[in-house]
């Protein structure tokens, strides 16, 4: 069976497909959150050095990972939109941006809350936390630039270029921040050196999957609204059931 990948690259076909997929992602995400939290809090034992406080990692680490990957995915979609002029790709990039930014914020917030019991301060200039802060700025820059340009085509393309430049910069930024951190003997927030108990790993992976599914569901929901907004002059939109 040959899959025609390009069938769904048009807003007209993608819109109903996304609509059908959202409930699946949403429900499975909710289930995995419940399972993950159960394993993380009930099954996993308390840590030898950090006691109960380490349990923050079950939300901190997944949100960090997702915020970083979402940025690359966002930049990828934006690049596709820039190179191939496909509207839907640019719409996906715009749909992903706020979610990525919020995950970056959650990562910073939970990182700070983890830092307080560990290091006594709400913020330590740990290399990864600092890079995460810069990532948040990059997301905000993308969103702000897109919002400041009235012409949607120019907005999509300018923001895409910014995202690509940002992606190229991310390794440079991360390397320089790490360098800076070691120079100044900054603190490093990381899980204790002892190997992780199996339940902790399970909880971590479950929560990671839960967050991914949530991110996909939210991005699909958002892109549907973006499609509605951008294509509101077309016939197929006015024929939609929800509009009538």
């Amino acid at each position: 069976m040959a899959i025609n990948w390009f069938k769904y690259s048009a807003p007209t076909t993608f819109y109903p497909l996304a609509g059908k997929l959202i409930p699946w992602f949403a429900i499975s995400s909710a289930i995995l959150f419940a399972v993950g939290l159960y394993i993380g809090f009930v099954v996993a034992p308390s840590d030898a050095t950090q006691g109960e406080f380490y349990r923050i990692i079950f939300i901190h680490v997944p949100s960090s990972i997702i915020s970083m990957f979402l940025y690359l995915i966002m930049a990828g979609y934006a690049a596709l939109g820039l190179i191939f002029n496909t509207r839907l790709s640019s719409m996906m990039a715009s749909a992903i941006a706020p979610t990525g930014a919020l995950f970056a914020f959650i990562s910073l917030w939970t990182g700070a809350l983890w830092g307080k019991p560990m290091w006594g301060a709400w913020w330590v200039w740990d290399a990864r936390l600092t890079s995460e802060l810069i990532l948040l700025f990059l997301y905000l820059g993308f969103i702000a630039l897109h919002a400041s340009i009235d012409d949607p085509r120019r907005a999509d393309r300018a923001a895409a270029l910014l995202a690509i430049v940002g992606s190229v910069n991310v390794p440079i930024i991360y390397f320089s921040v790490k360098w800076w951190n070691t120079l100044h003997q900054g603190s490093t927030i990381k899980y204790s050196g002892t190997s992780m108990h199996i339940a902790m790993q399970q909880a971590m992976f479950t929560m990671l999957a839960a967050c991914w599914l949530y991110a996909i569901a939210i991005a699909l929901m958002r892109v549907r609204s973006i499609i509605l907004e951008r294509e509101k002059n077309t016939k197929w939109i006015t024929e939609l059931a929800e509009v009538k």
């Binding site: 983890w114 929901m221 939109i237």
Partner: protein
């Protein structure tokens, strides 16, 4: 500091209220905003369609 002492005596509450609750509130707000945006976009499209039908 009062907060420090409270934190050490109630680690789980600290984690729940401080991190997880905040994260879930953020998720809830995000979901609410997406749903709201969909509602007003649909309204806009409906208005546009009615305006063009009157022509």
């Amino acid at each position: 500091m009062g907060l420090d002492i409270w934190m050490r005596e109630n680690p789980l509450t600290y984690i729940w209220v401080g991190s997880y609750a905040v994260a879930f509130i953020i998720f809830a707000v995000e979901i609410a905003m997406v749903i709201h945006k969909r509602k007003i976009t649909l309204q806009q499209v409906r208005l546009m369609r009615e305006a063009s039908e009157e022509e």
